[in-house]
């Protein structure tokens, strides 16, 4: 395991020095700027048209806008996770970057674990920073804070970690481009399953809700996101709760006590599959 910190250091340096990191930073700055503008407008409009009887306007606006920021944070985190890992094995092997590292006496498993931990760490820090920035913007402009602050941030970070693990596993079998497409299709599938659940709830369709629930367990980043989303309005009651459930993020679901154990088991299974496949791969 001596090689793990070496590989983490290498992957961290690579993450920070590649141009993709600069692109992500620029995109993030654009997003936060737009988010601040949108939040300011939303609170101003709600204040001017204060006609939602029995509904806490500030709560509704703050939760909706912050839910939107959580979605964007997850998306940006997923982009970063995918870009940091999508070419780890096959892509790097095709370019000749991997072979000089693999022949060193550290072992393939160590190389993979190091790359994964570095990607997970970068994504977690990134997500935490964007989440905090959005939180401060919402609080500063609308004087609103979510009911739970730390939990949803940790869940978003865990969701991007799951995406990084899936991307790393995909990188063993697929070229960089194919893996990138696959990761975003999987990410999209997770989001669609969330929407299906929302539609199922509105239509009271048990089949749709079951499909959505099963999909969210197969792709736990979606369950983590939904649970985090649910947590930001965990204390809402009455008409406000009803109004929130009708909004764009009304499908947020509490996942229950098995989410974290399952996420850890899921990561372990994906990791074991990746290590086994990489160990047998001809480079």
């Amino acid at each position: 395991m001596r090689g793990v910190p070496i590989m983490i250091g290498y992957a961290l340096k690579e993450s920070l020095r590649r141009r993709v990191f600069l692109v992500v930073l620029v995109l993030t700055a654009c997003f936060l700027g737009l988010y601040a503008l949108g939040t300011s407008e939303a609170f101003q409009v709600v204040e001017e048209q204060n006609d939602f009887t029995g509904v806490d306007d500030r709560e509704l606006t703050g939760a909706t806008m912050f839910g939107l920021s959580m979605f964007a944070t997850l998306f940006l985190g997923a982009v970063l996770a995918a870009f940091l890992t999508l070419s780890t094995v096959r892509g790097d092997a095709e370019r000749g970057l991997l072979q000089p590292l693999v022949v060193r006496p550290i072992g393939r498993a160590v190389l993979l674990v190091g790359r994964f931990l570095a990607a997970a760490a970068v994504c977690a820090v990134y997500v935490a920073l964007v989440y905090t920035a959005a939180l401060l913007i919402t609080w500063g402009i609308g004087d609103w804070t979510p009911d739970r602050i730390v939990g949803p941030a940790v869940q978003l970070a865990a969701a991007t970690t799951v995406i990084a693990a899936l991307s790393l596993l995909g990188s063993i079998f697929l070229s960089a481009t194919a893996n990138g497409i696959a990761v975003f299709m999987v990410f999209g599938a997770g989001l669609v399953s969330g929407l299906l659940g929302q539609i199922g709830e509105a239509l009271d369709s048990e089949t749709l809700m079951n499909v959505a629930e099963t999909a969210s367990w197969i792709l736990p980043f979606e369950a983590l996101y939904q649970d985090g989303l649910n947590a930001i309005t965990a204390d809402s009651r009455g008409f406000t709760e009803l109004a929130l459930s009708l909004g764009p993020f009304g499908g947020a679901q509490a996942a229950g006590p098995f989410l974290w154990p399952w996420t850890l088991v899921y990561l372990a299974l994906v990791g074991a599959a990746a290590i086994a496949a990489f160990g047998r791969k001809d480079l």
Partner: protein, 280 residues
């Protein structure tokens, strides 16, 4: 002499394609062996099995007594891939430092400076790899392969991107390594280069070794060429041992002999002969 590398009955199949078909090879410590063969002969596959990058279908390979691909084997070997790339964001010094750490080398900055000097990159120590020419990157690749003072080196086309000056530098480097007792398996298409530096040559074709030996042993007599008043006359099939008789016969016949040359097959001719329609 102890073996730096051995391969016994190595077979590698990629689906229906047989890349290696029972290869037996032995490289002694301090020996420099050239691996020749046409494209698709299995040279790179053999090298990759030795490095642990590819798993053999059957057979076994050992590096300095350790199973190829094991951590013990990788601790004592260096490798330069045919197609390689280093991260463009790193400097030459950072790259060597990374490989020092991965190889467990305690050589520190002194080793890095020595290696860069050895390959003529002292001035480019802090230059980013993305700003280096292909030839510079190739030389950096050789320096990287030498990190940790390996006992055995797999060099897969180490001079493919080098100009004649760079090739001469690598030849000098290989000779210096030989003096240090480092064994090398050199995979190259450049026959003249292999002939110049290698102790022994192995020619692979269609996944099998078709011939091997010292370059001088492989050379076969092709005839004797004699300069006479009437011009040059060639005695086809004659060898060195025939020269006194040929000269005596010619003198007895009243001819004046100005020069005699024994003609031998070059490595290139031998290569084309044994590889046949696989060449090119």
């Amino acid at each position: 002499m102890a073996a730096a590398f051995t391969a016994r009955g190595l077979v590698k199949r990629y689906g229906p394609v047989t890349a290696l078909d029972g290869v037996d090879l032995h490289v002694d410590e301090g020996e420099l062996v050239g691996l020749l063969g046409p494209n698709g002969a299995g040279k790179s596959t053999l090298v990759k099995i030795g490095c642990g990058l590819v798993r053999a279908t059957s057979g076994e390979a050992h590096v300095c007594g350790a199973r190829a691909g094991s951590a013990e084997a990788r601790r004592v070997m260096g490798y330069l891939a045919e197609l390689f790339r280093f991260p463009g964001w790193a400097t030459a010094d950072e790259l060597l430092e990374l490989h020092q750490r991965l190889a467990g080398s305690a050589g520190g900055e002194a080793e890095r400076r020595e290696l860069l000097e050895l390959v003529g990159l002292s001035e480019a120590r802090t230059r980013r790899i993305e700003n280096m020419s292909k030839g510079m990157q190739q030389r950096l690749g050789i320096a990287q392969a030498l990190v940790g003072t390996p006992r055995f080196l797999f060099l897969d086309e180490p001079t493919s991107a080098l100009d004649p000056g760079g090739r001469r530098t690598v030849r000098g480097l290989l000779e210096a390594l030989q003096l240090r007792g480092v064994a090398v398996l050199l995979n190259s298409h450049l026959l003249s280069e292999v002939e110049l530096v290698c102790d022994r040559v192995v020619i692979l074709s269609r996944g099998s070794i078709v011939t091997e030996g010292r370059p001088s042993e492989l050379a076969r007599p092709r005839g004797v060429e004699v300069d006479l008043d009437a011009g040059t006359r060639v005695f086809e099939g004659a060898g060195r041992e025939d020269v006194p008789r040929i000269v005596a016969d010619l003198v007895a016949a009243g001819e004046r002999v100005y020069g005699v040359r024994v003609l031998e097959t070059t490595l290139e001719e031998l290569y084309l002969e044994v590889v046949g329609d696989q060449a090119g």
